[in-house]
Amino acid sequence: MKKFLMNVLIGTAICFLAQTYLQQWWIFAAITFIISLLLPYSSGIRSFFAGLFIVFISWMFLYIFRDMANDSVMSDKIANLFSMKSNYLLFTIVAFVMGLIGGLTSLSAYFLRKK
């Protein structure tokens, strides 16, 4: 469990930085894959959820930081554009979908390593 939390923490930090400084929006999927490969999880379920958490948390942080500095002027309009009731609902849905992608690549790396 400690290792799981450690991985999530490290992964989230790396993901946060990578999304900030690299242009590729999908870079998180590569990160969760590599972390799962280098710092293996004890079960498939753990690898999946670690990937999901890493992406979900880092994306939510990234959204909320910028959003607070902007008083939600932009995100409210985009949420409206995509027919969502609130900007936080939009953040959550997107971060969750990206989390699923991250969870799956993490899981993929777990299977790859498992003997």
Binding site: W25, W26, N70, V94, M98, A109, L112
Partner: protein, 832 residues
Amino acid sequence: MRYLKSFIALIIPIVLIYYLNNGFGSFPSLGRIMDPVHGYMANAETKKDLGSKDIKIGNKEIKGNVYFDDRLVPHIYAENDQSLYFLQGYVTAQYRLWQMDIQTRAASGRLSEIFGENFIPYDLEQRRKEMVYAAEIAVEELKKDPVMLRCIQAYTDGVNEFLGYSGKENELGITYAEYPIEFKLIDYKPEPWTLLKTALLLKYMANTLTGFDDDMETTNLLKLLGEEDFNLLYPDRPSGIDPIIPSEKKYDFEYIQRDTSNIIYTDHYYKKVIDIFETQHEKNQVGSNNWVVDSTKTKNGFPILCNDPHLQLNLPSLWYEVQLHAPEVNCYGVSLPGAPGIVIGFNDSIAWGVTNAQVDVRDWYTIQFKDEKRAEYKYGEEWKKTNSRIEIIAVKNKEPISDTVIYTHYGPIVYEGNEKFMDEKKHPEISQRANLAMRWTAHLPSEEVKTFYLLNRAKNYDDYRKAISFFDCPGQNFIFGAHNGDIAITQQGKFPIKYPGQGRFILNGSDPNDDYKDFIPNEQNPNIKNPARGFCSSANQHPTDSTYPYYYTSYDFEFYRNRVINNELTRKQNITIEDMQNLQQNNFNMLASEVLPKLISQVLDPKLISNSEIETYVSVYNTLSNWNYYNHADSLAPTYFQIWWDTLYDMLWDEMYDDEIAFVKPNFYNTAQAINMFPDDYKYFDLLKTQDQKETLKGIVRLSFDNLVEIVDSINKKDASQLIWYLHKGTDIMHISQIPAFSRTDIHNGGYKNIVNATSETHGPSWRMIVELSDPINAYGIFPGGQSGNPGSIYFDNFVDTWASGKYNYLNFYKEESEAKKNAKFTLTFKG
């Protein structure tokens, strides 16, 4: 087995990422848009984005500071003219890049390229009108004028500096994260700016203001009604008009004569082309007010100049507020993103403004080709050669399409006699082979930018007259006021000298007598300086009384706003800025005041009806009877009147409507005159659909009133608030791309078309300006939008509520750079 599991777990995210990255169907790249760093959140403006910055420029000549005040208005202080326009281009691009792109794309017919095949008809229309050709001619003309070329080139360089344009084709330094949000949502890239794009923008405005006529409609009407009825219902110059130039003006110059010709009657109808020429809907919508009162009429003893152009209200706003300061110029006002200089504004010595001349400068000629090749056409006794130009239209996700446009000396053939424009089964008499060439003064070489360049620097009346002499199209009423006390107005444009009736109807292209000969010399355009009545004004009405020696016509002169303004200005003395604000917000519905008493008198008085079920009837009747004719936002009466008027108008002139044939109904002014003065049983009052019955005015008025009561009843049952004027009218300030999330709807504001506060569903006062020519200048202004074009900024629409409530911003016009610096929220420092 584990490899298979691993593969399955990997393939799902990869497929998802692929589609999120590349888009699917009409969806753009959602992955990139949702990227919390480079996607839409990159457009979420923060304090950091509004901070001071030093910007290093490759060009050593460029030097200056841009001070943004607390409304985000840039005050540009540059060391020379070149730097001034460079910086204007830079900051305009910084805040309005997407708007600059989409407007020039729309002008040049390149929307299909980004929106797909639905926009092909629109693009074809723009290509057929030869907007690009017109802009190319303007650029050629510009290249002959080194001063103007340098100014526009500097502006272009400024825009490209912001874009990080390397000089190589379409290679820009600006990254995806820095793109305006619309580029991300529509999924395309910005392009480098060019001289041609600035020219295109100006042609776009020319098209907005002069790109329509009703020549086909009137030609058809002449056939339908005959000359006598046509002239009665569609007079060029009805009685009771109040022209721009008061009758004290004597036209004692030697005018240029021309031969007349006979108006030809068509033996067939022209089919409606309204769906192809979408800009038709601008008709009856664009307009403007401007006026200036001299020092004898004002409380403080300085002239006051006012202007409010009525254009389509959009976000981002059409206008960008700016102060321009360089050694030889210091002026303030609104600019058009994409063009250097200030269009409406003031400097230390003068103020100026514009309204649309509304004079018809677009005509159609029937062309008779020698044969199928369309290489020659008849002109008098000879055959003239045509030219042609192939237009390629790129279409998103589809093959490009091409269109060959044939040119005559009149202009491009817009309509060819092809089956697209006719339906023989239903209307065998519809014109079968009408090849129509469009003649439009926007196609002539001209240099409108120069007018603004010179006006920005003008010191007195002579400078003003010289400046506007370069303005050919769109014809405008340039109003002028000076600190020294002079006031003036001039209708300026390049207007062809026409024989009476020429250009009202479709002309015969093979008859040289129907051709244009000369243009009215600039000094003979309608104008007046310091009139005895102490004010000048215009609101798109007839420019002159009947003593003006040249013939002109219009598809839509105004008859109401002008009279309200002139009545008020005549009556008022000791005028203050507040009086002028009230006049710009004036909601008096003069049409209603002139027609409603007669209409009410025709309706059955509810006192004579004993039926108790007529609650709505009574309330509508009483509300209208007691109305003071003001279209205030929260009133019910304007809603009742408008519903009634719209129904009645269509019933009265049902003869002048057909699904297929182009017709236009008599305008409101002539309709009101017909209602008030024509006999009750005038033949066209009859309803066509009731064949065995003959309706009189009284019958139609009652029928339409009953219809009104029914409508009011049904709205009441659903949602009674929808009867409140501002909600019924529904003024929406839509985002240019029609994205509702970026728009402001149901604006709380009164007024309507033909009212001084001309706020309709989609159009309205796009910039209200009031300038007292004191020292220092005392000026106010407001536009319904904001300085930033970014929906992620609070400055995107922060003026909307102020505008809607009838308030103004005080305009900070600084003399010294130190003042601008002191009041700056942040500064951009440019160094070469």
